[in-house]
Amino acid sequence: MSDGAEGARKFRWVGTRPVRPDGVDKVTGRARYGADLALPGMLWGRVLRSPHAHARILAIDASRALAMEGVKAVVSAEDLPEIRSEQAFVGEGPTDFRDLSHNVMARGKVLYHGHAVAAVAATSAELAERALAGIDVEYEVLPAVLDLDAALAPDAPLLHEDLVTKGVNPPPQRASNVAERVEMGHGDVEAGLARADVVVEREFTTRPVHQGYIEPHAALAEIGEDGRATIWCSSQGHFMVRAYTAKLLGMELSSIRVIPAEIGGGFGGKTTVYLEPVATLLARKSGRPVKMVMSREEVFRATGPTSGTRIRVKMGCTRDGRLTGADAHLEYEAGAFPGSPVTAGAMTIFAPYDVADVRIVGLDVVLNTPKVAAYRAPGAPMAAFAAESAVDELARRIDLDPIEFRLRNAAREGVQAPYGPRFKRIGHVETLEAARAHPHYRAPLLPNQGRGVASGFWFNAGLQSSADVHINEDGSVVVTSGNPDIGGSRASLAILAAEELGIDYARVSPIVADTSQVAYSDLTGGSRVTFATGMAVVEAARSVVRQLRERAAAIWEVDLDDVEWRDGAARLRAGAGREPLGLAELAARAARTGGPLAGHASLTARGVGAAFGTHICDVEVDPETGSVRVVRYTAVQDAGRAIHPSYVEGQMQGGVAQGIGWALNEEYLFDADGVMQNPGFLDYRMPVASDLPMIDAVIVEVPNPGHPYGVRGVGEVPIVPPIPAVANAIHDATGVRMRELPMSPPRVLEALEREG
């Protein structure tokens, strides 16, 4: 399975750009997303949210609401079982189910403005909304902690009375707002930095930003009198939804069936649950199906952004551009509950470089702001902003081309990563060389324009996937798997099945099955679906190919070894004598030769290939307004092998656009009471079509030896380089170093005036 060897031969489908199988439904409005489903007798659910950033809940009285027209049920944390603090690894990353339960429905305390306190189900959305005013909650308001300094102060108000910093030995005597301290590295960083000819030490700050998926969270839950529940929802993993809902509600896994709707964007923000357990609870209490859809304002106020951060880096190099030491201190805001991506930030910050003496320390800090959720390469983009800006500064100081600087220090196969293991086959150097060779790198710049370069890294995930490949009686093929299709994965899986079976792509129907129809699959995220679910599809298809050879061998009365499967048919290896038997013929005879033809694979994918990208960004800065415009952008990335190049390019272009938005405009604005001031798309300003140029996506292929087709995950790497690429371009245009995000016009103007 792990040989990456499927590269020597020419492919029929891999690397081509066929139309996606679910495409017609999506361009005609037929495809059903989370909010597009309805059931007869359905109620609408709405959530009552905390008006305070930090308060004790003294009492909840829903009697007035229950007496209101159309109201059928009200729930709060009282309706949920208490969960002891318990780590359970379900899917990617550790999840504390007690914290998850308390985030879904506040118990004892509210920890951010917008925190869910209760929920109501009524016969219409309007009546449910009206009923919220009928739920009386008594609060004891507490002082709120809204920034890192306030959270870290020795006498800071505590969010969690029992939160003692993990990772400190001996453990602290008192609770604090620091959930964890992580440290990693090797060598002696002080000695390394002492050997440097040039040292750069800088501090960078970033604000929370939201994943910005266009589809708000939505769920429809129905529960029968036998206690069996069905949940329709859009998520990045319906097995995750089942597991989390079961855990939070104290239900048996087998009593919940989760049916995936199409999903309108996730980027990590839908790798957790908010509405699903609440809708199920309301359905149970009311005896009716309950539909819940978040408003855009709720999405901003109450679902996880990614962390705001403060990062100090110190890097040193010799006169001839060799890094001698790298030191970083990262503080990441987790929001109301522990779990910022500071560990991944620490692991990735210096990963593109070969540095013998490196130390990274990170803190996970809780604040009275929404609990953060994963956002595309969680933790890495902020870290890259810091390190790639520092690298750019070092390169300038010694008058060395920034790509050449990176080449002299690039992580390669055999180099020890800052988080420990040695890299296996990776393509960082190849992306640097491709960027340097690209015409963009030599194109002339106009006045007020500048060019920046940055590198980025992401590990990519393996995890568990299952797939079934069934042959219909007419020889057409069904490929069943359990991963929601966020960005074209049905097409990639169909390509892999068609390639393995040697048949027409159009004869393959890929299906995203629900939790009762396919074996377990970890979620869609971590850049893992084409890699891991693709691997399962390949394995299941190979199982079918073996069965097809067996059937042909039986029909021809020859040994199995005499039969090969080539170009979509069973053929006698040695010489002629038998007409090839294609899929249609063998399928037609399946009943008489042993039964239905079907293959299955369930695996934990190994052989993950880490991936790198190098980006080139040109900006134009208006010296009068501080406005920055991206005028040209080239993203180079190692995809290992691009199964469907259009969707690989799409991931690259989308990640770049998010990175540019993060760099230039996006931020959460809170007032002094912790209330978000810009919970809508007008003032939370994401890039629109007129903000961006065409984005040149250049795919480099350094096949991953761990995957049968050499695949590396592609979804997350592209959001890592853009922020520093833009920052470095602004410096090239103006001479000014931006170290605070976003680099919005007022901030750029202020920096120009300060340093100009």
Partner: protein, 159 residues
């Protein structure tokens, strides 16, 4: 007191009852079952609910359902005719101009409105026209290419 509204949707007569404050977006989706038009923000900032009202591009979340009285409404469901996809729909598929697809209906309707007015837009004109439609997945590159190529096809040019 509910309003009785008679209107035309994608060429067919339609009627419904609605509260005075009801939004056209909610009636299209929850009463008439036309779920192709999506709600992304409810405040007219994302364009996911783009429809044509008497040929004019509007956000259905900003239109009262009662305003549909006597009007001609076109939604994404009306783009394909007689079993054939509109050139915009075909190019979106060929050019992989959608990833999650939730913004796609809004973009298709908005792009149709553009090409109804300006059959030969420049890239800049297309980008500014479509600035009212948010996409978080694609970075707009393939969307703009698909729109320009559909325009060329509709002008009878082969690209």
């Amino acid at each position: 007191m509910k309003h009785h509204v008679s209107t035309t949707i994608n060429g067919d007569a339609a009627e419904f009852l609605c509260e005075p404050g009801a939004l056209l977006l909610d009636v299209l989706r929850d009463v008439l079952g036309l779920i192709g038009t999506k709600e992304g923000c409810g405040s007219g900032d994302c364009g996911a609910c783009s429809i044509l009202l008497d040929g004019r591009l509007v956000c259905a979340c900003l239109v009262l359902a009662a305003e549909a009285e006597g009007a001609r409404i076109e939604t994404v469901e009306g783009l394909a005719r007689d079993g054939e996809l509109h050139p915009l729909q075909r190019r979106f598929l060929e050019d992989a101009a959608l990833q999650c697809g939730v913004c796609t209906p809004g973009f298709l309707v908005a792009a149709k409105a553009l090409l109804d007015r300006n059959p030969d837009p420049t890239e800049e004109e297309a980008r500014y026209w479509l600035a009212g439609n948010l996409c978080r997945c694609t970075g707009y590159d393939k969307i703009v290419r698909a729109v320009l190529e559909a325009a060329a096809e509709m002008r009878g040019e082969v690209r």
